[in-house]
Each structure stands twice: as C-alpha cells, then as structure tokens.
C-alpha cells in the first residue's frame, strides 16, 4: 500500500531532502556576493530604463519636418528657367536650381492641390527657391504657374486669395501681399512667392521681387468681365472669381465669371458667361436651371428669371439668357435682393460698349462641352 501511494504522486517526491552533514559559512559568503551581483544588475537595469540610449526613439518626428525637401524638385534640378525673370536673386541672395513640373507630376510639388490648378488649365510650373546668403534658413520660394490664358491665371489667383484681402489692380494684372507671401496674376501666369517667415528681411525681399516680376513678366489687358463688373458696375475687383470648368460643382458649367457684389458676408453671387450665339445661351441657361432645380424647389420669379429655392440653405438662385450671354444669381437671401442685383447686371450688359462685348468670346476649352449629369459624390 505504501509503495502504491508514492507512485500516485503527481509532483516531486522528497523534493527538499538532502544528505550532507556539514555546512559552511563560506557558502553563505559566496551567496551574499551573488545577492550583491543581483542587486547590482537590478540597479543597472533600472538606471538604464530611465536613461535610454536613444532618447529619440519615441520622438514624434516633428523636428525633422522643418527641413523637409520636396523630392521631385531635386530630380528636376537644372531645368530650363522658362519665363522666370533673370535677376530674381539680386544682392545678398542666391538662386537654387530651377525645377519644372507639368500636369503629370505637379502633385510632387503640391500634393492634394494639384487638381485645383489643373482645373484652371494648368500647363507648367517653374519653381525656384531664392536663399539668403547670410542665413540659408531664410528662403523665398517662387512658384510661377503657366495657366495658358489670362482668365485662367486670374481665376487661380482669385481662388487662392482670402476674401478679406483687396488686391492692387493695374491695367495688366493683379497682385497682393499677405503676411509672408506675394501673389500675382500677370498675363497667363499666376505667380506665388512664399517666404520662410514674416521677418523684415523676407518682407523687403518680397517687395523687391514684386518689382522684378512686374517688370520681367509681360502683362496682358484684363479680360472683358473685369470691364463689365469693374468698369460698368463699379464693383471692387477683389470680389471677382473665375471658373474655367466645373463651376457650382456642375461639370458642364464652364468659363463662368462670378462676382459677390455685397462682399464676403453675403452669400449672394452674380455670374455671367459668354456663349457663341443666343440659341446656345438659351439652351445652356435651361440646362443650368434644371440642375439648380435638382437641389431645390421653385422659388418664384425675379427680373424675368425663374428662381429656385435651395432645399437646405433656403437661398435663391436663378439663371437666364440675355442676348448671347448667360446671367444669373446664386445665394440670394430673398427674391427682392435677387431681382435688384440681377437688374443691375442686366443693365450693365445692355449698356456695355460694343468693343467690350466683342472681346467677350467663349474661352476655347480643350475639352468640348460634353454631356453629363450632375455631380454625384
């Protein structure tokens, strides 16, 4: 029986039994030395944990971003400088290599924003960084976008400008300063110059570059719509915008000039578009009206034009043909306002001098107006 019980054991038998008869204090001493070593190791491990060998291991990498360089620009280094004026550097500054981007690789320079420029008929970007000779951290980045046409350049320019800023207008272009940046629309070029900071060195350089660019880039007279809105109606040029395509998120709405006569605080927006003849104008107006109606309910009439009331915002929009022009209003708070502003626009078109009207020709788009429904997201 006793043997059987021992065999039943699951765990250790006689686990702690030993047979020695003599013990020695030396062993205790050696053991204490072992204990001391273990304490030492523990202390070292704890010390090591508080003093990481690589304190950067958990850094977020924000430091590295400040000196990030666009990879494509390096690859495109040494490109031909295109229409960039020669003397951008001037005294105390030097130019880095010129980089060129086309529609295919524009994203390398401005990812996410490339489609914006493509929407305005982007052709080519000439880009050069001007560095301060005293301090290489102080730089000015000159981006010259060739947009193909004056209207496109103005459109891209207006689209990037904060609504609070009033541009300076000359016969051949617009420009303005904003904090550390200078923006110009001249001829077919939209030029953006961005400084590395807002310090006096950069500000002064921006002023100098403005002169250089105005002198070095040939301007063209402002398009007909400026004549109409500014000359005839007396609206500030800062309120004008241009959409070569996809205006109001409608894919077929092209070559659209818009203006906010009441300023940025009102949603009211007038628009005008030149068509080749009166019949096309009528047809396009009907199509636009149909698209507006998809997002709203009939909202009565104003100045001979049927209005649509937006289903969410409750604002009024409408469009109608005048001769071979298409005129309309969007975002009017009420019918009376819509009628008043539309009337002003209609008068201006009627009174416009013939040479202005002659200049108002539809932009020759690369893509012919195509059939298509409303934008579905």
């Amino acid at each position: 029986m006793a043997d059987g019980k021992e065999e039943d054991r699951l765990f250790v038998k006689d686990g702690f039994r030993h047979y020695r008869r003599k013990y020695s204090i030396t062993e205790v001493r050696w053991g204490l030395a072992c204990g001391a070593v273990m304490l030492l190791i523990t202390a070292w491990v704890m010390w090591r944990s508080r003093n990481p060998l690589d304190p950067e291991l958990f850094a977020d990498g924000a430091e590295l971003l400040k000196v990030a360089v666009v990879p494509g620009a390096v690859a495109a280094g040494g490109a031909d400088r295109g229409p960039l004026p020669k003397d951008l550097a001037a005294a105390g500054w030097r130019e880095d290599k010129v980089a060129q981007f086309d529609a295919e690789n524009l994203y390398v320079k401005i990812n996410g924003r490339a489609d914006y420029f493509k929407g305005f008929g982007f052709k080519r970007l000439f880009n050069v960084v001007v560095l301060n000779e005293k301090d290489a951290q102080v730089t000015v980045d000159v981006e010259m976008y060739d947009m193909g046409a004056t209207a496109n350049a103005l459109g891209a320019y207006s689209g990037e400008r904060a609504p609070t800023i009033k541009p300076e207008v000359t016969d051949t272009g617009l420009h303005h300063f904003d904090r550390n940046a200078l923006y110009l629309a001249r001829g077919p070029y939209y030029i953006r110059v961005i400084g590395s900071d807002e310090g006096p060195v950069v500000t002064e350089k921006l002023r100098g570059l403005k002169e250089t660019l105005v002198a070095g880039v040939k301007g063209e007279p402002l398009p007909w719509a400026y004549g109409l809105f500014v000359g005839q109606m007396g609206i500030d040029p800062s309120k004008i915008a241009y959409f070569p395509e996809n205006a109001f998120s409608l894919s077929f709405a092209r070559d659209m000039w818009t203006v906010r006569p009441l300023g940025k605080d009102s949603d009211l927006e007038l628009f005008i578009n030149a068509q080749p003849d009166a019949a096309t104008a009528k047809k396009t107006a009907e199509r636009l009206h149909k698209s507006f109606s998809e997002l709203g309910t009939p909202g009565g009439k104003a100045d001979k034009i049927t209005l649509v009331k937006d289903q969410f915002l409750g604002l009024f929009s409408g469009v109608g043909p005048v001769d071979r022009f298409l005129i309309g209003v969007r975002g009017a708070a009420n019918k009376e306002m819509a009628a008043e502003e539309l009337g002003k626009l209609r008068d201006a078109v009627a009174k416009a001098p013939q040479d202005l009207k002659d200049r108002a020709r539809p932009a020759v788009g690369e893509k012919a107006a195509e059939e298509g429904g409303s934008d579905v997201h």
């Binding site: 958990f58 971003l65 990030a68 996410g112 969410f312």
Partner: protein
C-alpha cells in the same frame, strides 16, 4: 475459511452495487441533458442548431444620446478667433452657454479626440493636444468626477496616442486614456442607420458615461472631402471599417445618427487643407486661428467647410444633406443664432 469467503463475496457485492449506481446515474444524467425538451432546466437539447449559435448581445446608447436640453435663447454655435487656444476654447464654450450648461457635478465625461494617425500634432492630422488639455481643464471645472479620453485609431493605437501628444496631454491634465483591446468591442444597435445598424462598437469607455464631447481637427479628406466633427465618431467603431469607403457619405450620416454628443469642438487652429486625412507635410497645414463649439455638429462642420477649409464656392459634401434629411443636425449655420468672439489681439 467460509467466513473469509463470505466476507469477500459481500465486499464484491458492495463493489458491484457502487459501480452499478455510478454507471446508472451517469447514463440517466447523459440521457436527460440530451433528450429532455429544451425548456426543462439543465437540458442541452438543440433540435435545429439554433441554440448552439453564438449569441451576440447588442447594446444601445441612451434614447436621446448625450445631448443636453435644447435652448431657444442661447446660440447654437460659438466661434472664437485668436491665437491663444486655452482662452479660445473657453470663449467658444461660454458662447453656447458655458461649461455649466453641459457638465454637472459628478458627471462622467467621455472626450473623443481624433487620433486616427501616428503623426506629430503640427501636421494637423490629429486633434492638437493643446486644445484637449484646455477642454479637459474646462470639463473638470464643470465638476466632472471622471474624464475619459478614447479613440480607436487606424494605425497602432499606442503609437498614435503617444506621437500625437494626446496621451501626454490627457494624462497630465488628469484624464483617463482608454485604448482599444480586442475584448472591448460589442455590437451596437443604431436604429434607423443604413449601414451600421449593428456594428462593433468601442464600448468600454462608454460604461457609466453620461456626457460625450467630440473634439476634432479640420481636415481635407480624399474621399468624403472633409473630415470634421461628424466623421470623428468613426473612431468609436471597430470591425471592418475599411468597407465604409464604399458609401462614405452614407456612413457619416449614420455616424451622426449614432452619437448625439453633448457638444462638439472644432479645432480650426490648424487646418489640414490638402493631402488629407493623413497629411505629412507642414505645407499641407495652414493656421485657421479659430475654434468652434457647437451643439449641432453638422452646423459646426458646415462652418468648417465654408470658413476654415474655405470651400464656400463648392457644394457641401453629400453627407450633409443625408444627415440633415434625418434631422440629426442642420448645416445651415448662418440662418441661426451664432456668437463670434475675438480673443486677444
């Protein structure tokens, strides 16, 4: 001799009876649990296989969400402009009634920042820790007994929380951080939702919570065009989120239905205006110098779309209309009472 023999027989008989009793009981027991009707106690019977299927309990959030009573007097949105974030958060919340309107003594408050990506805060892809700190301090002043911060990021959760600075900010300010772990998701029932009527939900941080505050950055988004306070609730879901992109607008409208927050904060101090939602370059970010507090997240998002992303010219993304149609909010922020405050110079 014979007595020995009898004793042995008696022992064998006892042994037999014992053994028979054990075998009999086992047989009867096995027969009962397998044959007795399913309604009888202890029965395991499963005639059609239905009982054996895994049971997934579904949860529901409170009927009216976590919103406080609507007010006819107070503005629905407060817009604070300036550069000092802490003061702006306070000003924006004060504009819609002050923290006392939203948080009472003893409340357990969940703050949901956007920590979707492992990016430094300067890149604008995540909620900035500064605004989170300011919000936690504010909520604590309101008397909250516990403040929780939770998100289920797309990338590795710990890395996201640490590298975005949210972990540090939350812990320093005295909030408790909830990182997801596999057992912390349960199916949530969202009545009326198109796609996520039943979907795994990051439930753990919601236990015992009675106020929910969303705080999100303003971001461009490759697919839904703008990711702000409504899209922010995405981070409370688990499961196969990568299917959401097949109807992202429908999903965001569902999210608006899922959570009715106490209020939301929109952090317009940094605007990721392109290359969203991940960003990755400082040139994708611009200073917006604005913080918006609102009881209506759709209105806050519409504000962000028009004034911070500056896309007034374009139509609102489709999810606004879908969410508005369900009356979960109203993107028309202009037609209603807004209060704008300039903080500092």
């Amino acid at each position: 001799m014979s007595t020995d023999h009898d004793a042995l027989r008696a022992q064998e008989r006892r042994q037999f009876l014992k053994q028979a009793a054990v075998v009999g009981a086992a047989t009867v027991g096995a027969g009962y649990v397998s044959i007795a009707p399913a309604t009888w106690p202890g029965s395991l019977k499963d005639l059609d296989g239905e009982r054996g299927k895994p049971q997934t309990p579904t949860l529901r959030l409170p009927q009216n969400g976590y919103a406080v009573a609507a007010s006819t007097v107070l503005p629905h949105m407060g817009v604070a402009r300036g550069t000092r974030v802490a003061a702006m958060v306070r000003a924006a919340v004060d504009a819609i009634g002050g923290i006392g309107r939203f948080v009472q003594r003893g409340d357990v408050v969940l703050i949901k920042p956007n920590v979707a990506f492992e990016r430094p805060a300067v890149l604008g892809a995540t909620t900035h820790p500064e605004i989170l700190t300011a919000l936690i301090h504010l909520v604590r002043e309101g008397g909250a007994s516990e403040i929780r911060v939770a998100d289920n990021p797309i990338e590795s959760p710990q890395s996201c929380f640490v590298r975005s600075g949210i972990q540090q900010a939350a812990v320093t300010a005295g909030a408790r951080v909830y990182l997801p772990s596999p057992g912390e998701f349960q199916t949530l029932n969202v009545p009326g939702a198109t796609w996520i009527e039943k979907w795994p939900f990051f439930w753990r941080p919601f236990q015992g919570v009675n106020k929910v505050i969303g705080v999100s950055p303003v971001k461009d988004h490759n697919l839904c065009r703008a990711s702000m306070t409504t899209k922010n609730w995405y981070g409370l879901l688990g499961g196969r989120r990568n299917q959401f992109h097949q109807d992202i607008h429908g999903i965001i409208a569902d999210l608006a239905l899922m959570i009715r927050p106490t209020f939301v904060l929109l952090d317009g101090s940094r605007v990721l205006f392109r290359s969203g939602p991940t960003g990755g370059s400082l040139s994708d970010v611009k200073a917006g110098q604005t913080i918006v507090a609102s009881t209506d997240s759709l209105a806050a998002d519409a504000f962000g779309w028009a004034e911070l992303l500056e896309r007034k010219e374009e139509n609102l993304p489709a999810y606004f209309a879908k969410a508005a149609a369900r009356k979960t909010g109203d993107p028309n922020y202009k037609g209603r009472h807004i209060k704008e405050i300039q903080v500092g110079g």
